[in-house]
């Protein structure tokens, strides 16, 4: 169990309110016990679903996944059209993209050195928690 009980209706209500207040479309949280997904509809009421964790598939090549639900940004400045060409060598601390929630940006770092070979999400698209964003080939 994580520190927060995601099956608690009060927690879900709090998160839903917070998401609505922040203008966030949704949130997905994965924990060993399962997955919580809140999608705030345009009318402001939340649809909540949860399901058992799926078995992870093949791990090669490595995927960089969204650490949070939000809008996927390739560059930190919306409006800047700079998209790096692929494939591209990167190191573990390099920031590959960002998840934007309202005015807040969460950098997505590579997490490992290697070569970025694929961009797996569309720029400015809404992505869910854990959505694959980049594919990295790890140098051996």
């Amino acid at each position: 169990m994580s520190a927060i009980d995601f099956s608690d209706p009060a927690t879900i209500a709090f998160l839903t309110d917070a998401l609505t207040a922040a203008g966030v479309a949704g949130l997905e949280i994965s924990a060993p016990s399962g997955q919580l997904r809140i999608v705030v509809s345009s009318a402001g009421e939340a649809k909540i679903g949860s399901n058992r964790s799926a078995q992870p598939g093949s791990v090669s090549p490595v995927l960089v996944r969204a650490p949070l639900a939000g809008y996927f940004c390739v560059a930190h400045r919306s409006g800047s059209a700079e998209v790096s060409s692929l494939p591209r060598a990167i190191c573990a601390t390099d920031v590959l993209g960002f998840i934007r929630v309202g005015p807040v940006l969460l950098p997505v770092s590579a997490g490992r050195s290697g070569t970025v070979t694929k961009l797996l999400a569309e720029a400015d698209a809404m992505v869910g928690y854990g959505a694959p964003l980049f594919e990295i080939e790890v140098q051996s």
Binding site: S2, A3, I4, L15, A18, L19, A21, A22, G23, V24, L27, I29, S30, A31, P67, L68, H76, R77, S78, G79, T93, V95, R100, V101, G102, P103, V104, L105, L106, P107, V108, S109
Partner: protein, 331 residues
């Protein structure tokens, strides 16, 4: 604790200022870009008015003597942490012994370093701002110097910053609909006519119509503007009266002065206009040499901009808190 390793002149400790004492002659002081201070503080988890470092001469370097969350806001230059380039407007964690370096930014005038817990200098007359003219407040009433060791407040209760950082879409981008630039790239600063506007010919057209340049005789007290002098049609004997930042006075030479954060509390020159409060931070980020034009504003416009800025700040506060809590729960 932080220690200043390298600094230019006139870098100071500032917060949102010391208003409320102008009736005893004490300038409000405070950051030239208060919006950058608020956002920086919110991102590290401080109260929005916590004291920060205002850096306006570069290069500047400090060393962290304690693990700290920090943000460099307001600027368009990339800060360096132990030589690694980071982004402005992002909160990061610094380890003990790491060195933060700020180089001359490309376009903007001032960078703000907010640190988790806030810069903890004595609070004097309700503020930690440095009063350079009064020689009190901030870091012993004077600018930062190499070797200064400055205490940072406790970070108790502050939510952790994600390892890869957490930032914002900066105000100039997020609020661009409210802060336009002219087609020629000059800064558009909105203002309202002030007390002696009627003394200037043709409804002040010489003032509103031309592009001014911020002269080199400009600092935190005020900006002197270069251009074709504007001269009132008659000279009036003014009695000394209270003034606030943003007031645009016309001294006998005809080149206007815009009073800024360290504005004197009293003045007696004819006032042609006053910058609306919500545009002052943009002026605070304008460097010497910047070309600017004044645009006549309205109360309705000023209110609309203030509301947009307030809701942006609130949105950053709520969303950054939510994300930090969510990431902490998932960690």
């Amino acid at each position: 604790m932080i220690e200043i390793v390298e600094t230019g002149p006139f870098n100071t400790v500032q917060d949102l200022g010391r208003p409320g004492y102008r009736d005893i002659g004490v300038s409000a002081s405070g950051a030239m870009d208060p919006l950058a201070v608020k956002i920086g503080n919110i991102l590290v988890g401080n109260a929005e008015g916590a004291a920060v470092l205002e850096i306006q001469t570069f290069p500047f370097r400090l060393i962290f003597k304690r693990r700290s969350a920090f943000v460099v806001s307001g600027t368009d230059g990339n800060p360096l942490l132990d030589g690694i380039e980071l982004l402005p407007w992002y909160a990061y964690n610094a380890e003990v012994g790491q060195v933060l370096e700020l180089k001359q930014p490309p376009k903007l005038a001032r960078a703000y370093v907010a640190i988790g817990g806030g810069v903890d200098v004595p609070c004097i007359m309700g503020s930690r701002s440095t009063s350079l003219r009064g020689n009190f407040g901030g870091n012993a009433g004077r600018p930062l110097e190499k070797g200064d060791r400055i205490t940072v407040g406790e970070e108790a209760g502050i939510l952790p910053i994600p390892a890869s950082g957490l930032g914002v879409v900066e105000p100039a981008v997020a609020l661009r609909a409210f802060f336009p630039r002219s087609a020629e790239g000059s800064l558009l600063i909105r203002a309202l006519p002030a007390g002696e506007h009627r003394l200037f010919a043709g409804d002040g057209e010489a003032f509103w119509g031309q592009t001014w340049r911020i002269s080199s005789r400009s600092d935190r007290t005020g900006y002197r503007l270069s251009g074709d002098p504007v001269v009132p049609m008659e000279t009036v004997e003014m009695r000394s009266h209270g003034v606030v930042p943003g007031v645009i006075q016309v001294p006998p030479g005809g080149e206007p002065i815009v009073q800024m954060s360290d504005a004197n509390t009293a003045g007696g020159y004819p006032k042609i206009a006053g910058v609306i409060e919500c545009d002052l931070w943009r002026l605070g980020q304008a460097r010497i040499g910047t070309r600017l034009q004044f645009v006549r504003s309205s109360y309705a416009e000023a209110r609309a901009i203030e509301q947009a800025v307030a809701s942006y700040i609130e949105d950053v506060r709520r969303t950054s808190g939510l994300i930090k809590r969510a990431l902490k729960a998932m960690a």
